[in-house]
Symmetry: C4
């Protein structure tokens, strides 16, 4: 067992890079001289996809931050699971570029592909987070002492299972309507963000 | 409430990446063999935009650094506001590429677009910083104990409101003259940097 | 001699960046509108190479993490050796792009080139890690006191020598069969990952 | 005055990114299928420029690391000087790409341009380091108490002035011979690295 400091530093470093490289796809558009504004206005899909993915990775970082601040010891197994979590989050960069490209052309088949791939990445992320939560739940010796039993169940009960449902529904619905499928994907991400606010309020009231 | 260490680490990581990826736009120019020097000399707009944006993000980092060194505890809300601050700073990368591209062609309409978008990003940054200052001002329990009441007002009173005025003026003026509008934008950034020096001298004299 | 904190921070920063920039090669494919899915499916070599290299760098980070958590003091020489380790790992990014490009075209001569270059990078990594292990083994004063003699031999005895053998065999075999040569390369990386799990179990049982 | 921890973290983050993004220019070459090896062998200028610049930035990091480990307090002015140091190091990325491009075509005029620009960046780096050393020399209150007067002069006396001479000579000589000018540039960088080893040996002998 090792102290948790360095796994936090490594994770924060990766989160900082992952959330920042998203902006690298938000580039100077090709434009005819004198018509820059028109070219920029056509970039709304890139800005939209960027804002959503930034909010998504930001929310994941907040959950990760709060979760690891309850942990004082780590094991090699937790280190490996954490790498799986981070790996799955790296894929959002690729999925984001698919969304912004297909929102530009608005081809239904391509949009469906992009939404489903984003959903699969989101499912993978929720799955690996769930894995991490369950592992720590089964290893209470990794926790800081001052935490109580209620808080140990804090993360487990909440987020991942419901979001898995939403993302799964988004995949199925996308075969019938990309608009409703896309709305479910967006709802899943907003649900994550509000879940964070809701849970952190609950923790504050208890304290 | 959590200790402020990790929010500092995450923020520093993002600042380090944001300020460093600016240089990625400062690339080998396309050139005819034997005429590299001429091609490099034509890159002055990229160098100029790079220097200004590096100074700007550097100044923002200095303010952020000094501000967070007065804080010992963080809340989820402060974490979220800090993410908004960092999000708004990520947009400078895009705005910088617009400025350097339009300085190369010197088309007035395009320059106006680029200056106004840079101004909007700067306004957003000042607004989110102001939000962060006000939040901490209303939550003095997050501060370290040794700080006094004067210092609590330190950040609030100063920077953001005046800079919002300068950037707003720059937008309006750009519709009449891109040169004066651009000068106001530059003045706003220089004002930030000198405000940092001025404020840190004030703090030193008091100590 | 200096405290080991900052060498850990620098190394973690570089590992975080190295493992994250791998994903930058996993980009939006060029595709005909309406045929995005087909274009994505043809990207399997990029995904495969990405997963393998992510697992490889991740494993190297785990070894590095565990190794440095036994060290409390560093010397300039260790700092230099550590930079050599990190330099050799940066080359994986290039080797990965060779593998994914040649897996797309499946030309035997090109595949052989890509596999051998990846092997050479992996040999260099194992060699520099070995150098680092041996240096610290000869300087037990750098270690934390609570570690025992058994653990001092922990890293030395195990990983690098066997992996050097596997990667060397992969180079030789590639001249006769790129499929078996590639399989050896993959086996070397998987061997690293399992070596980490095996060794960390051994340490746990002893504790 | 603030604790020096966060300036170290920010600097390490930027060094880690600066040294790692160098590898982004070391990319998959364009090649005819079946002729990858030939295309790779023609990339030797990129590899050479990469190795030299990695060694250079690595050496700068080692100096920076050792220097800041003698400092326990920072002022806003030191923060600003440190940003100037880091700014000047970011330019190496651009200068490196000029060197590798001109080594590929071997045009004398272009090589001269590339060498002189690399020299100017190196001069700027040595100058800003010197600025930082002198500032801390004049502010001994920023130092940790256990250091003695000899060590306070440790950095000042040594590195920057001689290297400024070498880089300046390289610029002048480049107008007559790019080969000798380039050799001086390389000598300057090797001199830095050996200066680090020499000085750290001196410190060790004294301790």
């Amino acid at each position: 067992m090792f102290k948790a400091d360095r796994i936090r530093a490594m994770s924060d470093g990766m989160f900082a890079i992952l959330i920042t490289i998203l902006v690298l796809d938000f580039k100077l558009p090709e434009y005819r001289v004198g018509h820059l504004l028109a070219a920029i206005l056509q970039q709304w899909p890139i800005l939209l996809a960027y804002v959503v993915s930034f909010a998504y990775i930001g929310t994941l970082w907040l959950f990760h931050h709060d979760f690891f601040s309850t942990i004082s010891q780590i094991t090699p197994a937790l280190n490996i699971i954490n790498l799986l979590v981070l790996f799955s989050i790296t894929l959002i960069n690729y999925a984001t570029s698919l969304i912004s490209a297909t929102l530009s052309t608005l081809n239904v088949a391509d949009l469906r592909t992009a939404i489903i791939i984003y959903d699969i990445c989101a499912l993978l992320i929720s799955f690996t987070f769930e894995l991490m939560y369950r592992y720590v739940y089964r290893h209470p010796e990794l926790k800081e002492h001052q935490r109580n039993a209620n808080e140990e169940a804090y993360f487990i009960k909440s987020d991942p299972i419901i979001s898995v449902g939403i993302y799964f529904a988004s995949i199925i619905i996308s075969f019938f309507s990309v608009i409703i499928g896309g709305a479910f994907l967006l709802a899943g991400i907003i649900w994550h963000a509000t879940a964070y606010v809701r849970l952190s309020n609950k923790v504050r009231r208890r304290a």
